[in-house]
């Protein structure tokens, strides 16, 4: 985009914010018009978000894990085992639905999950990302063991601006494609992945679509991208 155009768009956005939409609608060039409109939308949203930020509460581990009663729930039980084997790897207290881990020791834990005979999680059923707000992204793994027929979910939260998780692509081969897709959609980087490329979108696409703050780029190779209607009411 040339400097002139940028200046023009900035001017138009100013006007638009003050309620003058006609000057934007009057632009002849379709690409330029769509650019101006999307810039305007972005500016409006930024203004909205700025007023909404709420300080997040700091969570602390209230109960030490060893104090809790042993539970039959697998997520609890295996979380317990992980905590014993890899101290300090848990990110929050144990619960029935998932195990929350820190990313640091993830590769070793994953290897252990697969090799430990009593667990033997040989199948990575599902892997996906999640934008959980609070400036955090989460990677979620659903494991299943074909031999023992049991099932756990593991979640790893990482900061949005520095999203790095060790890759488990070499442990479960399907992790290769799953992690590429998560990188593609959420921008979580998987360190140690041997083929770290986008999966579904083109390599030169900007942004990560499934993040909640995602803005569609205005043009792709000179083609204006139509805007999506906002939400359902």
């Amino acid at each position: 985009m040339s400097v002139d155009q940028e200046k023009l768009i900035a001017e138009l956005v100013e006007k638009g914010l003050s309620g003058d939409m006609d000057s934007i609608n009057a632009i002849e060039d379709r690409v330029l018009r769509s650019k101006a409109k999307s810039a305007l939308a972005k500016a409006k949203r930024a203004a909205k978000v700025a007023t909404k930020i709420v300080p997040s509460e700091k969570k602390t581990l209230e109960v030490s894990i060893d104090d809790k009663q042993p539970s039959d729930n697998l997520n609890q039980k295996i979380g317990h085992m992980i905590d014993k084997k890899f101290p300090g790897s848990l990110d929050s207290e144990l619960n029935d639905t998932h195990i929350q881990l820190k990313p640091d020791q993830w590769f070793d834990i994953a290897q252990w999950l697969k090799s430990e005979p009593s667990l033997h999680f040989d199948s990575l059923q599902c892997h996906t990302g999640m934008d959980v707000g609070d400036e955090k992204l989460e990677a979620r793994y659903n494991f299943h063991s074909m031999t023992h027929d049991h099932y756990i979910e593991i979640r790893i939260a990482v900061p949005r601006d520095n999203a790095h998780i060790p890759s488990i692509e070499q442990i479960w081969r399907i992790g290769d494609w799953f992690e590429r897709e998560t990188y593609d959609m959420f921008g979580i980087f998987f360190d140690g992945h041997r083929d770290h490329r986008r999966m579904l979108l083109p390599e030169d696409w900007e942004g990560y679509p499934l993040r909640k703050d995602y803005e569609v780029q205005e043009t792709y190779h000179g083609i204006a991208i139509p805007k999506v209607k906002e939400g359902w009411e």
Partner: protein, 373 residues
């Protein structure tokens, strides 16, 4: 035997190619006819399914699931509504369960018939394809009779189904099954035990069970490798625990365990098992009863997440749904069986010949709508 290595050629199979089963591109490095490396490139059919879901209510997602695996739309509907109901801890009336199972099994037959027929087409046999499509057409007629649509049904809703079974459906279904069962023999005679077909598929693209599990391959592809794993049996959802049927596994009947022929034949056997389930379900279905569970207009599942799996014709279809208590899902992730099946292609086809790659790809029975979502 001495092997002469010439210059490698990079060949693009697709995105427009008769046997890529959709818009798939395979970047292939070949040495003459021998394939040395194969990289699938996907995303040509990406329609932002998961992003769309974050802007719609739970009900509005259902038509989109149809369009993912467009050859087994009923099974996808089923998978999604089961997941949402599990999240809501909702029990549906018994009749609804029966209707869903009947539809899902008919869909399995229809989908397998297409898979088998198209596989024949990939190998070069044209006639079995049309024979199988002829019979698939009758199943689609029954779907049309039920909900008015032939390909994309939007039939199963959260808490029920859109319409009750029409008058005379059960009789029509029995008539079809009586007609259809002998046809399986005809397919076997025409294609399955054809010498050339066996030559082309047996011992080709052998998928060992450990590799299959590591790649998350599921459904008929996994069972062909000798792993007895079927969610309908191992983790029954809906009312599958009420029916008596076998889980068919490959046995390396014509070559080695887990080859293309096994993958083909397991599907043929599964069609027979589906007929078995259908006969039981059609006989047991309750005559009266409501086909809608009373649920609020706007579905608001409780806060939480669920990963629910169902067995579609292509394998384990997983839906990971995260709800924040609002009528709009925070995240819907679809773990599609064809995605994992395609991931294994690179490993399966290295070292085989050009024609074998087509035969391996066909035997995995992928649907690009589901892979790209």
């Amino acid at each position: 035997m001495g092997v002469v290595h010439g210059e490698q050629m990079v060949l693009n199979i697709g995105p427009q190619h008769p046997s890529t089963h959709g818009v798939l591109r395979l970047k292939v490095k070949t040495d003459g006819e021998i394939i040395s490396e194969i990289t699938p490139v996907i995303g040509y059919l990406h329609r932002c399914f998961e992003k769309h879901c974050e802007n719609m209510t739970y009900d509005q997602v259902i038509p989109y699931t149809d369009r993912c695996d467009y050859l087994a739309a009923m099974a996808n509907n089923f998978g999604y509504v089961v997941a949402v109901e599990e999240l809501m801890e909702l029990k549906v009336p018994e009749k609804v369960d029966y209707i869903r199972v009947i539809m899902a099994e008919f869909q399995r037959i229809a989908s397998h018939l297409l898979a088998l027929g198209v596989y024949g087409l990939d190998i070069g046999a044209f006639t079995p394809f049309l024979f199988m499509l002829r019979d698939r057409e009758r199943i689609l007629d029954m779907f049309e009779m039920t909900c008015g649509a032939r390909l994309l049904y939007n039939y199963m809703w959260v808490g029920g189904v859109s319409h009750d079974l029409p008058k005379g459906f059960v009789e029509t279904a029995f008539q079809f099954l009586d007609y259809f069962e002998p046809q399986i023999e005809e397919y076997n005679n025409l294609l399955t035990y054809n010498k050339i077909f066996i030559e082309r598929t047996a011992d080709i693209g052998v998928l060992p069970p450990e590799v299959a599990i590591s790649y998350g391959v599921s459904g008929p592809n996994l069972r062909a490798s000798g792993v007895k794993w079927d969610l309908r049996k191992n983790a029954p959802y809906s009312i599958y625990d009420k029916f008596d049927f076998d889980v068919c596994i490959g046995d390396g009947g014509q070559g080695s365990l887990g080859d293309c022929w096994d993958r083909y034949y397991v599907r043929m056997l599964e069609v027979k098992e589906s007929v078995k389930i259908l006969r039981q379900a059609l006989a047991q279905i309750p005559k009266d009863g409501d086909v809608h569970q009373a649920i609020p207009k706007k579905i608001r599942p409780p806060k939480g997440s669920i990963y629910s799996r169902t067995e579609t014709p292509r394998g384990d279809l997983g839906f990971y749904i995260e709800s924040d208590g609002s009528p709009i899902p925070t995240r819907v992730k679809m773990r599609s069986p064809a995605f994992t099946a395609l991931a294994v292609l690179g490993e399966l086809s290295e070292g085989w010949m050009m024609s074998d790659v087509i035969s391996i790809l066909g035997s995995l029975d992928i649907v690009l709508g589901e892979i790209d979502r």
